[in-house]
Each structure stands twice: as structure tokens, then as C-alpha cells.
Amino acid sequence: MKTSNPFKAIIGVLIVLLTFAFILPYFAPYDPRRWATVPRDQPPSGTYRFGTTTVGQDLFWLSSYALRNSITLGVLTAFVSISIAFLLGAIAGFTRSSILRHTLTLFIDSFCLIPGLPVLIVLAYSWRKYLSPVLIALILSIFGWAWPSRSVRSLMLSLRERPFTYTALLSGFGMIRMFFYEYLPYIIKWLAVSFLGLLNWAIGMETTIAVFGLSSLEEATMGSIIFWAMQYQAVLRGIWWWIVIPILILMLLIITLYELSKIAGELIGAR
């Protein structure tokens, strides 16, 4: 299973994407965000592999920058969300105090129920002057942590009821030892899968609000490329590559991350 072909293919695609996002930008011959650096509206060709945009940007290098930003933003969101999710969910699941447990559960569940997208749009709109990828990541984290937190909570609750927890207690193990020795393998698996899932979610969310024009529009992200393409009615004017290529890259990234999370779920940690 570990070295099967699908696995190799996914890792391969991932490496390509990461190279594209993080290594390539250093080789860009010009700042791809700046307008009017190259001839406009050029279809994909030998010189401009992804074509050019209506405002004179080279889509190839622009995508590379944008992908880096999108992924970085996603990683930041995932990291912050997982941290909050884990902290709150673990306490909610682990604690004996029923007041604390009920309060936290109520808190977590409320955040799960708040409709994320409309609130994000409102927030992003109110702070649009200050929006940077970092701020966007933090705003996304406000909603990203809720559902994973529920799953941490139920993971903890079920681990607490497993017979081996009682065996450990009878063997004199304290709570700390229980947590790090007995539960850690289960937690790590959850962390790996959730991280990749959150990463995917964040990238998708950022794209969504960017398409509404609520992302950082000077810093290129995949979503902002699509925004500008729509602003300039690229499809109607036949400049299909401006929309299609970022969408294809996004799809590739999201599918790869999803498959990776499935593999992580099977390989790492428990059960």
C-alpha cells in the first residue's frame, strides 16, 4: 500500500505543485503582480505558457505567486484552527467537570451553527482596507476550528470510555501519561487528517471570498486571479485561459490534498 502506484502519483503531483508554488517564484523574471509587464490577452504559447491577462500580467508566473500565497494562507489558517480546535475540543472531551464540559460544548456547537460564509463576507468587507493574507487567514480561523473541535471532543470522549483507559487508571497511570502515551497515536492520526482537510477548506474559502472581491487583491491569490478575470469578463471576451487555468490548478491542488488526507488516515496512527 505504501509504495503503490496511486500513492506515488499523488506524491508526484504534490511535489510538482509545491515546486511550482515555492521554488519557481524565485526565478520569476519580473514581478508578475505588476500590470503591463507583458503584452495583453495572449493565449498560451511557447513564450507565455499560461497566456497573459488583460492587464498585462504573465499568467504563468502570476499563478506561481498566487499558489504560494494561497497555500501559505491555507497552512496558516489550518494551523491556527487546529490549535484552537484541539485545545477546546480536548478540554471539552477530557474534563471531568460537567459544567466546563457543557459550557465548552455549547460554545463549540454555537460556532458550528453560525453560518460561516455570510459572516466571513461581512467581516472581510468591513476590514477590506486592512486585508492581507495573514489577516484573511486569521478571519478564516474564526470559523475553521468549530467542526474539527467537535471531532476532537468526540474522539476524546470515546477514548475516555475505552476499557484500556480503565486499565491504565488501575495501573496507576496519571492523566498526563494517559494523554501522551495511550491517546497520542489516535490524536496524531486525527491531526494529520484534519490538518489536510482544513487546508483544503481554507484554500477553498479564500477563493470564495476572493471571488466576491473580498480578498487581498494586490497580493495575488488563486481567488483574486479569478476575481480579476471575472471583473474583466474574460470568458465573454474569449480570454478563457485567465479563468480556466487558475481553476484547473486549484482543482488539482484540492484533489491532491484530499487524496493525501485519505492516505494519511490509513497510514498514520490508529485503527
Binding site: 476499557p163 484500556f164 486499565t167 488501575l170 495501573s171 497511570f173
Partner: protein
């Protein structure tokens, strides 16, 4: 010494169900019993849902009852100071039903053995080794065969024996065995049950044996308490309770035991299985009244107290 080893007084534990857990029913309802210092095997018997597992958790100090107290050697176990808690853990141990669930499938079994010795006895690695080797010998295993192995590398019977060894390491006085042989093959059960008898005779360990299987209960118990819907309906010396069957529920349980000799009767007699209705738990009258073949008017109005018939106590209006 006539001081009691274990005293359970009026233990009651409510669980909630329904919307917001507001409807409460007593999973354990005013359960009281004593265990004397002389080593004994007490069986707590009943079908699933009778509250025996909840009772076990309460007795082990894992679940605080809503009402009632548990005294171990005169001390209330839910009011122990830190050092006393460690003492309690050494004195009272447990074995569970599912051998493979007892140990974390991702860890080696020896980590629990060494862990127990380290945390409860404070021995050095070398001393631990010797002690574990000795205890494993009692259950018929060698330490070299279990080192660095995962629970899945053993058969169910072996894992259960390792579990027993782990419980014996701190030299306890009382062991709670929750359905220890129900997931073990029939031909291997006797080995473990005989081991319990040895523990009582040779090592002066008292055992609370929780089961639904009355045949094995008869084989090893000195005393037995029959539980129904959270209450003890009959308790006393095992022989008398199981052979005289005063309470109608005890009678129903015993007659439902399939045994080759009683084939005709087993197939013909009318039988009344209980419905697992929560309302049975909540009944203010006798909980068994709904399906009892001997019920009378009084049974449907008031809960019977425990009446004495010789050495047996029966919670049934028939014996007033």
C-alpha cells in the same frame, strides 16, 4: 478482625435520557451489601441493563454515586486523600470482559505490567522484572513470551491471563472481575475460574464476580446477589439462592439456563422476557411486577423491602 472489607450502602446512580437528559432513571437503585474480611467470592448476577457494570464502576472509584457511600476497610473511597488513593489502587483491582479491549492495541502489553509495578509499587526495573516473572508464573505464562508483544499477538485466553497477572501485581485484597470469561472459549473457561478459586484459597484475595452466567457463578461463588433493573432482588449464600430460587426473577433466570437434562421442560414452559423499558426502572412499585407470574395487588403499589428467609434476603412481597 471482624471489620468489613467492603461496605456498599444505598448506592444510587442516576443517568439522564431524553431531551437535554432531563428524564432521570436510576441505573443503580439503593444497592447495599457487605463483604467481610475473610476472603470470599461474591457474584453480582443479572442480565444486561441490570446495572452491574455501573455498580462495578462505582465500586472501583471511577463513578461517583449520586447517593450512598462505599467504604473500603472503613474508609470512604470518594473522600480519600491523594496518598490514600494510591493505597486504594493497590488494594482493589479489576479485570474486564473483552481481553483485547483491556489493552491499548497500539502498545505492548508489558508496558502495562511494568507501568503498574512502577507507579503503584515503586520498584526498580530489576525488581520489577523478578516480580512480574513470579506473578506471570501463577497464571501460567513466561515473561520472555510476552515481552515486546502487542495484544493481538496472543489468543484471547492468553490476554485474559495477562490481564489477571496485571491485576495481581500490586498484591490486591479485592479483585473485581467483570464478565471475565464470557468472551473466552468454553473449554478454556475452567482454567480461569479455577484460577479465581486458587486466588481466594491461596492468596486470600476476595473476588467480586460480575456475570450473567449462573452456571459459572454457582461453580465458584460463596455468595450471590441478583440484580434486576438496578436493584438487588435477592442475595445470600450462592448455593441457597440458586437452588431454592425464592424470588420469581431468580426462578426465571435459573430455569432459562439451557441444560441437556431439562430439555422437555425448557422447551415447553412459558417464558416472559423483560422489555427493557425505562419505565421499569422508574416504577415506584416492584420493578418486576409487570412480568411476574406471582404478582398481587400489593406488588403493583409498593416496592418490597428485603425480607429474610433463613440466610437469604429477598425483595419480594411473597416473603413478608
Amino acid at each position: 478482625m471482624s471489620e468489613f472489607l467492603l461496605e456498599a450502602k444505598n448506592l444510587t446512580k442516576f443517568f439522564g435520557y431524553g431531551f437535554l437528559g432531563r428524564v432521570k432513571f436510576p441505573a443503580v437503585d439503593k444497592v447495599s451489601f457487605d463483604m467481610e474480611s475473610d476472603p470470599k467470592i461474591l457474584t453480582v448476577a443479572g442480565e444486561s441493563g441490570c446495572g452491574k457494570t455501573t455498580l462495578a464502576r462505582i465500586l472501583l472509584g471511577f463513578l461517583k454515586p449520586n447517593e450512598g457511600t462505599v467504604f473500603y476497610k472503613g474508609r470512604s473511597i470518594y473522600h480519600l486523600k491523594r496518598k490514600e488513593r494510591k493505597w486504594f489502587r493497590k488494594e482493589v483491582q479489576a479485570i474486564f470482559q473483552d481481553p483485547y479491549g483491556t489493552f491499548n492495541p497500539l502498545r505492548n502489553v508489558d508496558s502495562y505490567l511494568f507501568g503498574t509495578v512502577k507507579h503503584l509499587l515503586g520498584m526498580s526495573r530489576k525488581e520489577a522484572f523478578a516480580h512480574i516473572e513470579e506473578v506471570l508464573g501463577f497464571v501460567g505464562l513466561f515473561i520472555k513470551d510476552i515481552m515486546d508483544k502487542n495484544p493481538n499477538e496472543f489468543s484471547g485466553g492468553q490476554v485474559q491471563r495477562i490481564s489477571i497477572a496485571r491485576a495481581l501485581l500490586p498484591e490486591p485484597r479485592l479483585i473485581l472481575a467483570d464478565e471475565p470469561v464470557s468472551m473466552i472459549d468454553a473449554s478454556l473457561r475452567m482454567n480461569i475460574l479455577n484460577m479465581f478459586k486458587e486466588l481466594k484459597k491461596q492468596q486470600n484475595i476476595s473476588i467480586i464476580y460480575i456475570t450473567h452466567d449462573l452456571a459459572t457463578a454457582y461453580y465458584i461463588s460463596d455468595e450471590i446477589a441478583i440484580m434486576y433493573r438496578g436493584m438487588i432482588v435477592e442475595q445470600g449464600p450462592a448455593d441457597e439462592v440458586l437452588l431454592s430460587q425464592y424470588h420469581p426473577y431468580t426462578k426465571a433466570l435459573v430455569s432459562s439456563l439451557p441444560e441437556p437434562g431439562k430439555r422437555e421442560k425448557w422447551l415447553k414452559e412459558k417464558v416472559n422476557p423483560s422489555g427493557m423499558e425505562v419505565k421499569e426502572f422508574l416504577a415506584p412499585n416492584c420493578k418486576y411486577a409487570d412480568i411476574c407470574p406471582n404478582k398481587s395487588g400489593k406488588c403493583q403499589k409498593e416496592k418490597p423491602a428485603l425480607f429474610e428467609v433463613g440466610k437469604v434476603k429477598v425483595a419480594c412481597w411473597l416473603y413478608e
